[in-house]
Amino acid sequence: MDDFLTAFLNVEIVREAWPILWQGFLYTLALSAITVPLGMVGGVILALLSTAGPRGIRWAAAAWTDLFRAIPPLVLLVFLYAGLPFAGLDVGAWGAVAIGFFLNTGAYYGEVLRAGIGSVPRGQVEAARSTGLSQAQALAHVVLPQAVRNVLPDLVSNTLEVVKLTSIASVVALPELLFQARQAQNATYNATPIVAAAIAYFLLLWPLVRLISRLENKAMAGR
């Protein structure tokens, strides 16, 4: 038991690694604050193009979405970071993360939002148009608010996955939580920093998990 505590839950090690872990935690927050909005913007654009665009554009948006859902995000990130420089294009670690998440998470948010838009009966758009609202106004005021509400549990779930996925930024040497935990582990020869990182993720994401459950229960009750 003592061995277990020494290896995994060593208070002394936590104290020692605290500053670097805390910095990693802040990086993870910053990465989330960048990748979630970027993914949502990408998702809204894709959802709009694939539902309200002309036929050719709709098809292209669907193909784009398929492509970036099929490519593993880690592969995409490594390609952007380590592959693009061979074409003389160095976007850097932050650039690679921003572009990669925009492409990957955008495709996922796009699918969720597309389903939400599809859940709004067509008659409501016709009613809105019949009062003189433009297509864009009908989307903004009638369709999107309901679309978002109808798929809110899925949107929050997706956000949860995006925050977890920020840990892949460690492979391009961005000092986020996992990266810093590995550094601390190497410096202390102890697994406690990894456990501390897991606990930090849990504390950060558990409220979101609860929120999803509540939203899902509410959606079920509403049905």
């Binding site: 009966p121 008659g123 409501q124 016709e126 009613a127 809105a128 148009r129 019949s130 009062t131 003189g132 609202l133 433009s134 106004q137 005021h141 009638v142 608010p145 309901q146 509400r149």
Partner: protein
Amino acid sequence: MPVSADAPRPIVDARGLWKRYGALTVLHGVDLSVAERELVFIIGPSGSGKSTLLRCLNRLEEPDDGSIHVDGIELLSPKTDINAARRRIGMVFQSFNLYPHMTARQNVMLALRKVLGKSRDEADSIAAAALHRVGLGERMDHHPAQLSGGQQQRVAIARAIALEPRVMLFDEPTSALDPELVGGVLNVMRELRESGMTMVVVSHEMAFARAAADRVVFMADGQKLEEGPPAQIFGDPQHERTRAFIRQIDRH
């Protein structure tokens, strides 16, 4: 075009409307003219093109051929701002199509704010007046889900009339309602008619047609087969299809 008192310009003037869905021709060169303050009733078997005709009149459907003037505006011209034109044409749907995430008041206010550009206060008082007019003054802050079908349809009417349209189109406004809720909606339509609103109504409410319509149009297979005053269409129909249709309706 000279305008004289005895030949007023029609509010709706549709000529030679053709509409096809692939190989299926739904409208075969239909004409429809509606004078100011007139209530035209359209009847006919299911699938005869009544909804399609009505939906062409505000360009929710694009006719393949023909011309439509509403209040003097050439509706099908590419130069026409269709969103501006649609403010003059109110439409009420069988399935109400209220916005479920908004209260009754907000349903009515949306186009007042976004299309007519009214201030919030102004839109609010116009919406309140429209909802009072349809008998829902007490229910303005309810959401559609908290209203009966009849009340929802009255909100939909309020949403349309708040924009002060020149003509109102009704597509089977009472067909989705429980029988005991039909009367409330018809009363609102009757009141509208008495206030001088120009109306085109697709409906199976023959008693209402007899009492309120100026003219009844019978459609079958995408064509206007017969039209005339209600007494003539219901009492002495000329066309065999009309006779058969009215016999069948009367049996219900």
